[in-house]
């Protein structure tokens, strides 16, 4: 098994694509947070609590939850790239018990997703405190609270990477997978959150579960604007459990789906 995980890590790091990971993580964590702090949520339209309050800090950090498409797309490439370039033939020849290959991909990408998440969290922490000191504003949340939120967001990035691997294994086609993930995360889920009544399911969707980690959601604020109410987010630990369940579901799909499919 270790051989296969090592092979997957080598596969990942032997094309230039991974080099996009750290810059994207810095943008998603550091740049986004710095921008939000420097502008100040109190200057958003509509105005929101400033970072001098805990609610304001949670809101600023919750913006990071909107960037989960990046790790999801990255994870999707684990399988779709193999079908696109037809390396899947060799891969299944060298490991004909296909579930082992997929398990190795999941392990390798969970590791890589965790690394991505740590860069996001680390750069967000630096941006939060750095930008706040530039503005001369005190942070309204304890360092423990900030650390807890950022750690859970880092874990969420790993979870979305795993979800991406599963969706990629399900669809196999690279373009279709990118389109489905993008459309779901940025359109379908947001629409569901805004539709009165249907919005009640939002806390149980991946986006709602991610928002539960920070206990703040721009989508929730938008839902209040549109329909006058928003579904309550789950408690952070329950949100984490729901996200983990999606990741496990995606992992199970990734492991089980390629078993009987013909590779022609």
């Amino acid at each position: 098994m270790n051989r296969l995980v090592r092979a997957e890590l080598r596969r990942l790091f032997s094309t230039p694509l991974w080099r996009w990971g750290p810059p994207v993580a810095l943008l998603s964590g550091g740049a986004l947070t710095a921008m939000a702090v420097l502008v100040g949520p109190e200057h958003f339209d509509p105005p929101m609590p400033g970072i001098g309050t805990e609610a304001g800090v949670r809101l600023v950090l919750s913006l990071i939850g909107l960037t989960v498409l990046a790790p999801a797309l990255f994870g999707a490439l684990a399988v779709t790239s193999e079908y696109r370039h037809r390396t899947i033939t060799y891969t299944f020849l060298f490991a004909p018990r296909r579930h082992r290959v997929l398990a190795a991909k999941l392990a390798a990408y969970a590791l890589a997703g965790t690394g991505y998440g740590l860069i996001v969290a680390g750069s967000a922490a630096a941006a939060l405190y750095g930008a706040a000191s530039v503005r001369g504003v005190a942070i309204g949340a304890s360092p423990e609270t900030v650390a807890g939120i950022l750690a859970s967001l880092a874990a969420a990035m790993a979870a979305y990477t795993v979800i991406g691997v599963g969706v990629g294994a399900l669809l196999r086609d690279q373009t279709a997978t990118l389109a489905v993930l993008g459309a779901y995360l940025y359109m379908v889920e947001h629409l569901l959150a805004l539709i009165p009544g249907v919005g009640a399911v939002y806390p149980f969707l991946p986006g709602g579960a991610t928002a539960a980690l920070t206990q703040a959601s721009l989508m929730g604020e938008a839902a209040v604007e549109v329909s006058g109410s928003a579904a309550h987010l789950l408690p952070p630990l329950v949100g984490a459990a729901v996200l983990l369940a999606y990741a496990l579901l995606a992992a199970a799909a990734a492991v089980l789906l390629p078993m009987r499919r013909d590779v022609t």
Binding site: R3, L4, R6, A7, R10, R11, S14, T15, P16, L17, S81, H85, R86, T87, T89, Y90, T91, F92, L93, F94, A95, P96, R97, R260, D262, V263, T264
Partner: protein, 238 residues
């Protein structure tokens, strides 16, 4: 290298929708010989090879290597080296890194990667990305991948495609040497004139069915070439 293996195909059948790709195919391939798996494009050769290697599930019949299905072999890629098409590479990965990925999967040291590169004559191009390789170099990288595990069985699909005459002569020598070491070498090809100079035995397919099998010498015994023998067979079957 593992001990020699024999290949047994029994009643192999596969349909894709309404298309009968392979029908009730039965033949054996012996170690120590180069066997040509011949037939026109679309005759079911590639589907047969993919069933043999566990990539495509047969609707009926069995394909066994040394008495076991490919996926049940204790060390499949150290038992069978396969090269199925000339474009199984990520274009942005170097030839050497491509081999290292699969060497990792096998658990063989990176020194074996260098041996496979040297054996197939592409050491000088190994640092370049595979996307820039010519078809002939891709064929060599394919062969290097197949040879990574030093397998006693080699299965090659159209390995001469894209090779220049010098490359074909080199391949002929290499396969002859590998068979001489006791390995089983199965080469699928639709180019009969090349196959004739390469193989000891033939398995001939047409429209998914077995047309003839046996030593090349028996098929061409009355002095006619393989192409004429093939046309006579297909004419008789038509």
């Amino acid at each position: 290298m593992h001990p020699p293996h024999r290949l047994e195909i029994r009643g192999l059948t596969k349909r894709f929708g309404k298309v009968e790709a392979v029908t009730d195919l039965t033949f054996d391939v012996e170690p120590g010989r180069v066997t040509g798996f011949l037939g026109p494009n679309g005759s079911g050769k590639t589907t047969t090879l993919r069933m043999l290697l566990g990539l495509v599930a047969p609707d009926g019949g069995t394909a066994r290597i040394g008495g076991r299905r490919y996926r049940d072999l204790p060390e499949p890629a150290r038992t069978v080296g396969a090269a199925l098409e000339a474009s199984n590479f990520h274009p942005a990965r170097t030839g050497r890194d491509h081999l290292r990925v699969y060497a990792d999967m096998l658990g063989v040291p990176t020194a074996r990667v260098e041996e496979a590169l040297a054996l197939t004559g592409i050491t000088d191009a190994a640092h370049r990305r595979a996307g820039g390789y010519s078809t002939g170099m891709r064929q060599r990288l394919n062969l290097a991948t197949a040879l990574l595990g030093d397998p006693p069985v080699l299965v090659l699909d159209e390995p001469t495609n894209g090779l220049d005459p010098e490359g074909i002569a080199w391949l002929r020598g290499l396969l002859r040497r590998l068979a001489g070491e006791g390995r089983m070498v199965l080469v699928a090809s639709h180019v009969l004139s090349e196959a004739e100079r390469l193989v000891d035995d033939v398995v001939v397919m047409r429209r998914g069915r077995l047309l003839a099998t046996g030593p090349l010498a028996a098929l061409t015994a009355d002095g006619i070439g393989l192409e004429a023998a093939f046309l006579r067979l297909t004419g008789a079957a038509a």
